[in-house]
Symmetry: D2
Subunit: 366 residues, 4 copies
């Protein structure tokens, strides 16, 4: 309950600062019997790795994960899975001077107000490196979901003014473009836009979309722990996200009921919906169609142009941030959004197991 | 953890169905010593009451609250406060026929898939009446927040295509217009728009905005339980909400870093921000400026035009919903959004008390 | 988390004071589809009713339970079950004078220190009437457990110096003797002992035993949430309990390993244990044999002889408690212990459903 | 909620198996500003170290702790403190053969039933090495409690038939005797008794006592989360504990009310109790006097005499356990009990901060 844990039955606890000894996560409540190796996790971690190209920071973050517990003979044991990534390439010298002032758009000021002081090196706990634990946990959740026929796909929907064209949707491109856009043409335009931003010592925001296919109907709790409410928390808890939409989201609020309602129909003896404005969730519970969500990400606050701020002594000052910073957070956050959605959905699936007496009888029949 | 409770230290548990015997809430963890009467709570409940005018359902919901525990000699005792509202005017006959089919846009289908069956009368647990408990709890949270100098103000920002003009912002109008808009002119336009909708047997959506003034800096937890993440869950858990924004929200993702960053400045020896694109939260922690959020609400799914759906026997059918339904959910949801924000913020304030050793010493010094 | 809720997935939240308007419980997370009526619950409540005989208080507590939500067409719906018992026979006049002093052995002083003041009428929240909610919830849990073949039996093991003789164990006697002893001879002796206590204006303590038959092996979590740890919390949370034993308990600590170990053996192709010193739990997880626990209950603190204490003004005083009080708490606490054990075990069964990937596949197979 | 986390606001999550790569704990919710070094923690870990003498296993467990996060410039930052201990001296070969059968008194069988298989090396997750994380967390909690004037002292009360004599109580002896008894004479007798046990290829149990001095009145929640209930769970969650007593415990149940009630009296303008049968807790809330609890620990189940059991193939077999095992668990569990009590009490102190509106005003006054 102290804020670094997430999930009820599939519960992850992340820890670590940008420039501390290491970062990691403890995954508690993972069902026993899931085949799992460090490679499964490394695959996800590599998706958040910077340095692949010019639009991400030239910092080399060679994040190698180690499984310290909870896996035996290649399978999860049901006990906590502890995952560790050592910090290796962090150079504290870059950050020395931010100890004394508050970077606009960052959590420096709010940490000081909350805790009285902060680990200022590289943003400390509020660094993007905090997401290493989320992604490592997401790799595990995703693997188990896939065993149940559930697949998550997150990608960049837009960067600044450049948005993908759904008619050009190319799932391969997500892993191959530097922007994680599933549209190679849009990706090139976005890269050009980011070039301009960098030249202007500025940064850009964008939108991440995540779809979940194969989720059975009936998942999510009907009141406070609605599946969309849990997903919103999960996604909004990713640094820099400023808005979350489910299904048609904002657009739904602008349409009429006759436009927004999705008709139920029978198809091959299954209930389907003829449209999916709801984004796969009705009354907080999955309806069996694709779950769709969008995260709106603010521009990187670390920009190289001069900015006004105050220092810890309470004086107005002007600063110019140094160091190595991505001109856009979006591409590296794609796998983070996907991971948080995976963890959230798996947890909801576990919680839902006890929804019906009938399910208890399936597990505990003699 | 079973989904009908919300909050960590200030924890509310709601219960009740639309057409059951009663609805209510248990508020556990309310600090002792808060002056509280049934009138304090009734005031909030009356704000969600329908039947005030033509745009809300002619149902008479005369929701009188009774305090059953946790208050003694006019003050909260620190033990659970149980609040009860009897269902009086519910007519089950209106709902008999929906027992057998799934209304588009409602949770009928998903409840059946989750639980095997459902209390179909008036939507049962997924009815808007479920919010009675939230609002009753919100009244308590709001009263305590006000003692600490924190004030919440929620209102309708838009209905369909009609949006308020901030230059005409009139706080009195929130309680006086049938739309809960703080702009009387916009409200009239919105009413005209809703008239059209009703004539067309259709419904409209809209946007609710909530601002929180007076919140100290330092509230919220830095990782999963970010203040904005918790608020997102709280707001998205309100039925019909499809998107949540914090501060500039979606617009932030479309701006550059140089535009979106808020400069810190000194003013009267206090740190302030010269702008507030962030909506009062940085890194998940309040920064001392106004907290701003928006909820995007879908149009009422109960519309009177004919719709396609399926029945429990798995047959395609066509239906026309009867009964009494608001053409827009937004005005009645305003106080619900305000209440959920109040409960969330108060809980975060309680959790934050233990953030610093210094605070422990203030409470436990000899 | 605020302390009036118990359980993770089967979660109960109790509320109410001895002399308030009512007492009750919200049961959240009860699986859907359990047949349930008010009579099922009343049966349990009647077991904690006083006034059946001379050893319990002559107060008439005619506690009639009302189901306010969560049950439809005779079955649980999966949504919160709200249960209400109105306070009817409470006479506040009896308690007026205790407002100003601290009764020895009671929570008067500690409530004042914690909350600044207290509802002093009849002990307020720390009254034995608080257990009404526990017992009502226990009735539901017990009914569901019975459907799974699990049966709980609690009874009085001893009162003062009088202990039951296991060779005379008569399960019928539990409900028929005023002491709830399963040994009619011991019960008579205990009644005689209590007569003496009452004549001496004194009170007695005793021991409650609870056995759980039919629990499958594998229930309970291996580290903090061990089944015996959860049971200990549950039982120790019942007012007046001062010690909890599992299996041989205290006696185990006095034996050697060779005496205390239970050998595993095969019987009818099932693994059994040839003895059960462990009380059915190994490493915090049920082993398939009978679960056995004991609660040691202190003597009623309300005695009629003169006692020394202090008042709220900080003066030494001497008091003589008036009113109507049982000379022993044990018999009325038997059903409370059984109820708490039932709630705890059911919750552990629900949590355990997600222990294995194999179980997920049973529920979510296509 | 998945069972490897403990505490609400001061929350610890332990992980690791006996023969895995490492063991550790994440401490979330530790207030910022506590001076903390690895030495503070090592001091506690060394108290649970075996190999100090003949009554503990000759295994060399050179457990060196590393702080991976949450401490900056010598003080806790408020963010999660991750502590790691590498497994170095574990020899898996010793345990190969237990893979195939169920040791009596151990969790081998129950793990297999729960999870389908288990990490059998050295007991895996159910090994005593799991307590490393508890003790590391206990060191942090104890240090913070001491800053608030609260001191915990745990020690061995008895081993087999040998009990300490309170008149010879010598606090220094706890750390100096191999039994952790505060009575050197009793310790010698206990050692002689253990010698006999070892010669007979047998093992012994015993009793651990823990006292907490300096705790203010008012700590603990009045219903389910009573301080004694939480302590009971904490202590019973330590492997091998079979009973927990608070204050007079079992003996209280055998006394009369007139003997068991503690009179309140004024002393130096403070409320005190003239006796302390209650063990410092009334109605689940601390009363300001010494908190006293006892844990009854079963004999080590790993004994070298021949035992009957079954194997995974469901055959009756006879086994003789090899390896290195303590003849008694008690002395090494002393610091574990103290640690769990410290974590529990600190958590209760943090939760209690929000009990009164008055406390909020102390923290959030302008």
């Amino acid at each position: 309950m102290a804020g670094s844990s997430y999930g009820k039955l599939f519960q992850i606890t992340t820890w670590g600062e940008s420039h501390g000894a290491a970062l990691g996560v403890v995954v508690d409540g993972c069902p026993a019997g899931l085949p799992l190796s460090a490679d499964d996790i490394q695959l996800f971690l590599d998706r958040r790795k910077p340095g692949r190209n010019k639009i991400s920071t030239p910092r080399k973050e060679d994040d190698k994960v180690e499984i310290l517990s909870g896996v035996f003979e290649g399978k999860t044991t049901g006990t906590p899975i502890s995952l560790l990534v050592r910090n290796t390439s962090q150079r504290s010298s870059d950050y020395g001077e931010i100890a004394n002032y508050y970077r606009p758009g960052h959590a420096d000021y709010t940490f000081d107000k909350k805790y009285g002081f902060r680990d200022y090196r590289g943003g400390g706990r509020s660094s993007g490196r905090e997401t290493i634990g989320r992604v490592a946990a997401g790799a595990i959740a995703s693997k188990l979901l896939l065993m149940l026929g559930i697949r998550l796909t997150a990608y960049t929907r837009s960067i600044g003014p450049v948005t993908i064209n759904d008619s050009r949707f190319d799932i391969q491109a997500i892993l191959e473009t530097p922007t994680c856009m599933p549209d190679r043409l849009a990706s090139e335009k976005a890269e050009a836009y980011l070039d301009e931003c960098m030249k202007a010592h500025d940064s850009a925001g964008g939108v991440i979309e995540c779809r979940i296919d194969g989720c059975p109907a009936g998942i999510g709790e009907p009141v406070f722990d609605k599946l969309d409410a849990e997903l919103s928390k999960a996604i909004m808890s990713v640094g820099a996200v400023k808005a979350v939409e489910i299904g048609d989201g904002i657009s739904a609020a602008q349409h009429k009921g006759s436009e927004n309602n999705d008709a139920f129909r029978m198809q091959d003896k299954e209930v389907i919906k003829s449209t999916n404005h709801a984004g796969g969730i009705l009354g907080g519970i999955s309806d069996g169609s694709t779950i769709l969500l969008r995260a709106h990400v603010k521009p990187t606050p670390s920009i190289f142009s001069r900015q006004q701020t105050v220092n810890r002594q309470g004086e107005d000052i002007e600063i110019a941030i140094k160091g190595r910073h991505d001109p856009v957070i979006v591409p590296r956050a794609v796998v983070v959004v996907e991971s948080m959605a995976a963890v959230t959905l798996l947890d909801a699936l576990l919680v839902n197991m006890s929804a019906k007496v009938e399910n208890l009888q399936k597990i505990y029949h003699k």
